[in-house]
Amino acid sequence: MINTLRILTMLAWRNLWRNHRRTLIMLGAVVIGVWAMIFMTALTMGMVNDMIEDSISALPGHVQVHHPDYLDDPNITNLLPLPEEAIADRFRSAGFLAWATRIKVPAVLSSERESRGVTLLGIDPQREEAMSFVDYSAVEGRFLEGPDDAGIVIGRKLAETLETELGKRVVLMSQDPDNDIADRGFRVVGLFSADVQAYEEQYVFAGKKTVQDLLRVGDRVTSIVVLGDDYRDVEPVFAKVSALVDDGVTVSRWMEIDTYLGTMLRVMDGFVLVWVIVIFLALSFGLVNTLVMAVFERVREIGLMLALGMKPSGILGQIVIESMMLLVTGLTIGNLLAWATIKPLESGIDISVVAEGMAMMGAASVLYPQLRFEDVILANTVVLILGFFASLSPAWRASRFQPIEAITRVN
């Protein structure tokens, strides 16, 4: 048995290099195919990862607590039924990486010439530094100094749109819980920049206390946000938060708040498999063709081997082994090539040329390819398994030859 296998392997290897030009071309195709699978997967995963991390940083917090109606209608009437003090008492000693209470409501910001709809965030800047997408030290001017800061911090892009600038006054307009207009003038004390341009237009920051006074909500807030260690594994934090709050509120994971993102994460994992299979389908035509040719060329030889007493299964094995050898060689080189091209790019690819388009998708303008071990394994396994099945058909045909017909066949 072992002996037969040894002979078959030797035969297969030699056959492979009998027409080395054809084998090299096929090898080239496999290498490029595998490289494309892994490289493109790494790029896609890098982009998705970036997008998700950016979006989570804007949520922020992997687990959030809201009024049950708030997620459907982010309105100031849907306040948490707990005063801030009570929340702080419970969360303070729970040992989260970071947590904060905030007010997040839609508002309108106007300058002399323009007005724009924005999302107003009433925050306590010290508490949120760890979780914010804004780098406080990179803010032009200054960031908020405390929950009762009287200034407002807006995005650079928004300032441009409103034709206002640092040090000027803008008017913020929103609604109080009685649906009456709540508005106030604020001086722009800081301009922040964000990786994702859309955030610069969407979010404005003001002190939490100031916002509570403006909206006449006392010491209530709309959200509690809690940061965990890993965005892919939020269950422990979720369980801990759920235990801390009462029944009348909703605790949600980030993938429930931003279902688009959550779905995307799952779709992308599936997408990698689809991508690998699509490339393989293209490859498989070449592979089967190569094998069929190899079989046709050797009809008389195969007939001879059968006549000399080789079992049909031996012929089958020989051809399958031949194709496996081709694929394994191709995979090895392809993997190495992919690794060699991704490694130097891991520090980031600057795609700022298309930054605007990327920003529309919510992605940043630097792409960090992400080589994940499981994606590499997936690509290799798919190629080997499907390759095995693809080579079965020519191998099967070869093993079914009638020796007498095969020997006398004139090519």
Binding site: R113, M173, Q175, N179, I181, D183
Partner: protein
């Protein structure tokens, strides 16, 4: 309500027959002018012309005001806009359009938008006049024009006032007719101005009967409001200023 006032009551200003005080205080002048725009109540018919370089449209409206909080404006002409109305009550604002048969409360997000397509914003129309208390007033100058004393007043909004302007300037005649109201941005550049074009004696008062609002950087685009008839200090029932009257006029 500042410009509903413009529409309905500002134009009616002119009670003031007494001469200017010897030592005029800027805030008092503004307050007097505002009080005189409003009167206690008024009913008027006026026309509004919205002018753009390539088109122009005009409409005729009826307006009722009572006190400083309540007002109702209803379009009479053109026919296709007939019945469109705006009700304001204490900073809140509702509109009604017979075409959709629905009363809509103007949300804060729409307060900055144009009122009936004109150069006035909803906020201009709905906001009760904050100009007295939310600004610091200084008397810049007092001069004579056509035999009347004209006060030039600069009003700077307080730090936390919900006002985008850097400052406003008012020209108020001694009989409290506002001749001009200019809005400057925070760089001191003129953004828009409301100018009185005609002053007439109407309903027993001297009022600005034709006024024009125009943006400084687009002088070809303006909105003009002219008062056709006016009565005031008349008895208007509170039921006029209700949502049901906005929807179903009971005249």
């Amino acid at each position: 309500m500042r410009y509903l006032t413009t529409i309905a009551a500002l134009l009616l200003a002119g009670i003031a027959c007494h001469a200017a005080e010897p030592a005029p205080d800027a805030k008092a002048i503004v307050r007097a002018a505002v009080d005189h725009w409003r009167g206690l109540s008024s009913y008027s018919e006026m026309s509004m012309v919205i002018h753009r370089p390539d088109w122009e449209r005009s409409m005729t409206m009826q307006a009722w005001t009572k006190g400083d909080k309540k007002s109702l404006v209803r379009v009479i002409e053109p026919k296709k806009d007939r019945g469109n109305g705006t009700l304001t009550d204490d900073n809140n604002m509702w509109t009604f359009s017979p075409k959709v048969n629905r009363v809509i409360k103007i949300p804060s997000s729409m307060m900055g938008q144009s009122w009936m397509g004109s150069d006035f914003s909803n906020k201009d129309v709905a906001r009760a006049d904050d100009i007295i208390d939310q600004y610091d007033h200084t008397l810049l100058d007092t001069h004579d024009a056509d035999g009347m004393i004209v006060h030039e007043i600069r009003s700077v909004p307080h730090e936390e006032a919900a006002v985008v302007w850097g400052r406003e300037e008012l020209l108020i005649r001694e009989d409290y007719v506002v001749l001009e109201h200019r809005f400057y941005d925070q760089d001191g550049e003129l953004v828009k101005a409301l100018e009185t074009l005609e002053i007439e004696e109407m309903g027993g008062r001297t009022i600005a009967s034709r006024q024009r609002m125009a943006k400084a950087d687009a002088p070809e685009e303006w909105t003009e409001i002219a008062v056709n008839t006016v009565e005031y200090e008349i008895d208007i029932r509170d039921s006029v200023f209700t949502l049901s009257n906005l929807r179903n006029p009971r005249d």
